[in-house]
């Protein structure tokens, strides 16, 4: 793994950490301020700091350090969690996010001096607040020498510096000084090995002068955990006392040390009473070593604290997306191969139904599992929303409360990634155009704070996402007037409320009387609609004047497999993506009326939509030419409203795996791709939008009874 790849992991991790911190702080604001929540925020920031240091992002590291220190105070309970503090932390998090971005893109770090000052001001008075921290059990200094007792930490770094320095020391034989030592029982604990320390003394140039074996008991009384032996080493004069002391820094007072010719090997201190030295153990109680029968209470309680967590928490591995897509692709092929086998056997009259159905159900399970690997909770998209709302609050002055439901709903990673942009736009739109100013809200008898509701749920194999505000609703008079003004609809058009609402998806449409810098940037709701459509989804509006507007997005769970209607036209089999299909019907007598010489219109419950014979659109010699011979499939298109496709018959409705025609052949107008059917034949997938747009000459497109025929308005 190259350093660049590791950095990539780091930035991916930063994203996760930022989301986690965001979620934690949001919970804090909602009143959940328990230790776990605060600690999760701390950990997230801490983790970014660790990586920033490791990868040398100095500005990021410095900033996270301040942030972390403040969070540490919060965690220790030194700083009270008040709304003001949470607000500060949220702003600090936003800047952190900018910092991460700057580090990733190599840009200049964001200005953070003011925030750092603010965070420092918010910290517990007197800095670290170590006085409040429960002092750890203080361990007695090694008795003989306490002159350097200030640091009994286990700083390997410092230690190693000395160690490596020591290797070079070629000891002159004459000038040496003695060190006496006696490891105690504890020196064997904690994975320490006194032998290694003796070797290090030797590495410093130490030589054994004396080894005290007088305390070694008879074999049957010997306890392997006890320290019976003591040594005197002689060291070269240029080896400092501290260098020796630091070797034993590791084990602290578990090895008694004495320096100089005037000292002797420290006396033996045994743990088990009854053997010759009956001295009481000098160990603090909490330290009582080597009693497996009675483990420390902390160790005993730890498993209880983490009960089912082991099974639930996110054990994860990272996989190259390419590999995963390859797997999913292959699973798709497997599904098809299975279906082919099925058909072939059926055709051959083989009735191995039991085995076949087993194979089928296994294939389906494999497919579902493979799909679920790509699935991610939508929470990763939703978690960015609070930041958007905060930014909006500062630019628009509208404070909006966020309600989120169903953030654990899972859908395909690609869908999630591509959902961010339209969702952001819808949210901006909701705050900018939907939710009124505080004054207007109060006048309307509403709470001054608006509410934005985000929800996601699975519904019949698709995912339904709703973005709702409790604002004024769509002002239909203004929308209509604007649409007429822009020439999107004709002045005498009679539109239903729903159709007027849909006008906001027309290109170049912007209803804000003051074009703000938030949602009125030229790209409008038409782009949102296009994005959603590209994902194989649909967007609809529900708006009630005075009560608010809700945008409903229906999306497929995955892009790799779609639902399609398999239709016959002449000798061809085609797939119409189900996302476009509104209904299919056999027209009643008189429902289809001629319009001019070549065009036919279908009367669907009082509304006329153009009929397109798929046969003609495809240039196929065979196939139904009159609606009476076949079936009409009513489809909804982006550019040309609804249309009825005339086909010979509907064969089936099934899932299909899309194979790109562009990569395997070339781009063909009106064809979205190809798929392999159960019988092994290739079927083309109809690109409903472009097919309908091509089939209808522009002047024939009815533009007065459907709102979203905006092509020529653009």
């Amino acid at each position: 793994m190259s350093p660049e790849e590791i950095q990539q992991i780091f930035f991916a991790e930063c994203e996760e950490s930022l989301s986690a911190a965001e979620a934690g702080l949001a919970a804090c604001r909602e009143g959940t301020q328990d230790a776990d929540t605060v600690n999760a925020v701390f950990r997230a920031v801490h983790s970014i700091k660790g990586g920033a240091g490791a990868f040398g992002y100095i500005a990021l590291q410095a900033y996270t350090h301040t942030f972390e220190t403040l969070l540490s105070d919060v965690r220790e309970g030194l700083v009270a969690i008040e709304p003001k503090l949470v607000d500060l932390l949220l702003r600090a998090l936003d800047t952190l996010s900018d910092h991460v971005e700057a580090a990733q893109e190599g840009g200049a770090p964001p200005p953070d001096a003011a925030l750092i000052a603010e965070m420092e001001a918010a910290m517990a008075v007197g800095g670290a607040g170590s006085a409040h921290v429960a002092a750890p059990e203080s361990e007695p200094e090694p008795e003989p020498a306490s002159d350097s007792g200030e640091d009994f930490g286990l700083d390997l770094d410092a230690l190693l510096d000395d160690l490596t320095g020591g290797f070079d020391t070629a000891a002159p034989e004459h000038s040496r000084w003695p060190v006496h030592l006696r490891p105690r029982a504890g020196a064997m604990r904690n994975g320490s090995e006194p032998l290694l320390m003796l070797r290090e003394i030797a590495a410093l140039g130490g030589q054994v002068e004396q080894c005290d074996v007088s305390q070694v008991p008879p074999l049957d009384a010997l306890s392997v955990a006890e320290g019976y032996l003591g040594w005197t080493f002689s060291l070269p004069i240029d080896v400092a006392e501290d260098a020796v002391r630091e070797i034993f820094d590791f084990i602290g007072d578990d090895c008694a040390l004495a320096f100089g010719a005037d000292e002797e090997i420290p006396p033996v201190e045994l743990l088990s009473p009854g053997i010759e030295c009956a001295a009481p153990p000098a160990e603090p109680a909490a330290h009582s070593p080597d009693k497996p029968a009675a483990p420390p209470p902390a160790a005993a309680s730890a498993p209880a604290q983490v009960p089912a967590a082991a099974t639930t928490a996110g054990q994860s591995i990272r996989i190259d997306l390419f590999k995963l897509d390859r797997l999913i692709d292959l699973v798709g092929e497997l599904v098809i191969a299975q279906a082919m086998l099925d058909q072939r056997l059926e055709g051959a009259g083989v009735t191995a139904t039991e085995e076949l159905s087993l194979l089928e159900s296994l294939t389906r399970d494999i497919q579902e599992s493979a799909m679920s690997i790509r699935a991610q909770p939508i929470g990763s998209v939703f978690s960015r929303v609070p930041r958007i709302l905060r930014d909006l609050a500062s630019t628009t002055g509208k404070h909006v409360k966020l309600d989120v439901f169903g953030e654990t709903t899972e859908l395909d990673k690609t869908v999630i990634e591509r959902l961010g942009e339209p969702l952001t736009h819808l949210i901006r739109n909701a705050v900018d155009h939907g939710i009124e100013t505080a004054e207007e809200r109060i006048a309307a008898g509403k709470s001054p704070e608006g509410t934005l509701t985000l929800s996601a749920e699975h519904r019949s194999g698709r995912i339904l996402i709703s973005i709702g505000d409790d604002g004024a609703g769509i002002n239909r008079e203004r929308v209509l007037a604007k649409a007429i003004e822009k020439g999107i609809v004709s002045a005498d058009a009679q539109l239903s409320a729903e159709e007027i609402d849909n006008l906001i998806f027309a290109p170049g449409f912007s209803t804000a009387q003051v074009v703000s810098n938030i949602s009125g940037r030229g790209v409008g709701m038409d782009v949102v609609r296009q994005n959603v459509k590209d994902l194989g989804g649909r967007i609809t509006i529900e708006s009630t004047p005075g009560k608010g507007t809700t945008f409903l997005l229906t999306l497929p769970l995955t892009l790799a497999i779609s639902d399609g209607m398999i239709v016959n036209v002449g000798d061809q089999t085609l797939v119409v993506p189900l996302a476009h299909v509104v209904e299919s019907l056999r027209p009643e007598e008189g429902a289809v009326q001629g319009l001019g010489s070549s065009q036919a219109m279908l009367n669907v419950r009082g509304r006329f939509i153009p009929v397109i014979a798929l046969k003609d659109a495809l240039g196929s010699p065979l196939g139904a030419t009159s609606p009476e011979e076949g079936v009409l499939v009513v489809v909804d298109t982006e550019s040309a409203g609804q249309a009825a496709l005339l086909v010979d018959g509907i064969q089936d409705q099934r899932q299909f795996v899309i194979k790109s025609l562009a990569t395997n052949f070339r781009v063909v107008e009106g064809v979205a791709g190809a798929t392999i059917l159960g019988d092994g034949r290739v079927a083309l997938i109809v690109d409903v939008d472009s097919l309908v747009a091509c089939a209808l000459p522009p002047q024939d497109r009815p533009n007065h009874d459907r709102p979203n025929h905006e092509r020529h308005a653009a």
């Binding site: 801490h46 990586g51 286990l154 390997l156 160790a299």
Partner: protein
């Protein structure tokens, strides 16, 4: 010393694990990884290890908890455990020692020092 020294690195940060893995495996260590104390314990239940390097701040089971559990058990209680963390306060050091850590490395770490530190405690 013919056997390869096997090191278990425990850190909830994937990038930190990757860094450790890179630093240690290029220096001839056999590296295993766990993303928190719980998964470290699960791994330790089924594997042998020479040295454990653990982060302190982790979800589910933190470094202190991990050390206490390892020391409280029987199988790996004598294994050296190095604590690797950005927090270098004396309080944390003392707590790590009390919990049973063998040594301490402050991150960001220097590869040479890390390697020397692991060699130093590897039995």
């Amino acid at each position: 010393m013919s056997k390869t020294t096997r090191v278990l690195t425990v850190d909830d940060s994937a990038s930190m694990r990757a860094l450790l893995n890179h630093a240690l495996s290029t220096n001839g260590f056999d590296v295993a990884q766990a993303d928190d104390g719980m998964s470290a314990l699960e791994w330790l239940a089924a594997n042998e290890v020479d040295v454990v390097i653990t982060d302190i701040n982790m979800p589910r089971l933190d470094g202190f908890g991990l050390i206490e559990q390892v020391r409280g058990g029987t199988r790996h209680r004598d294994r050296p455990i190095l604590v690797l963390t950005t927090e270098s306060s004396d309080e944390k050091k003392a707590r790590a020692r009390a919990a049973g850590a063998t040594g301490w490395i402050v991150k960001p770490f220097d590869t040479d020092k890390l390697v020397a530190a692991v060699r130093r405690v590897a039995h």
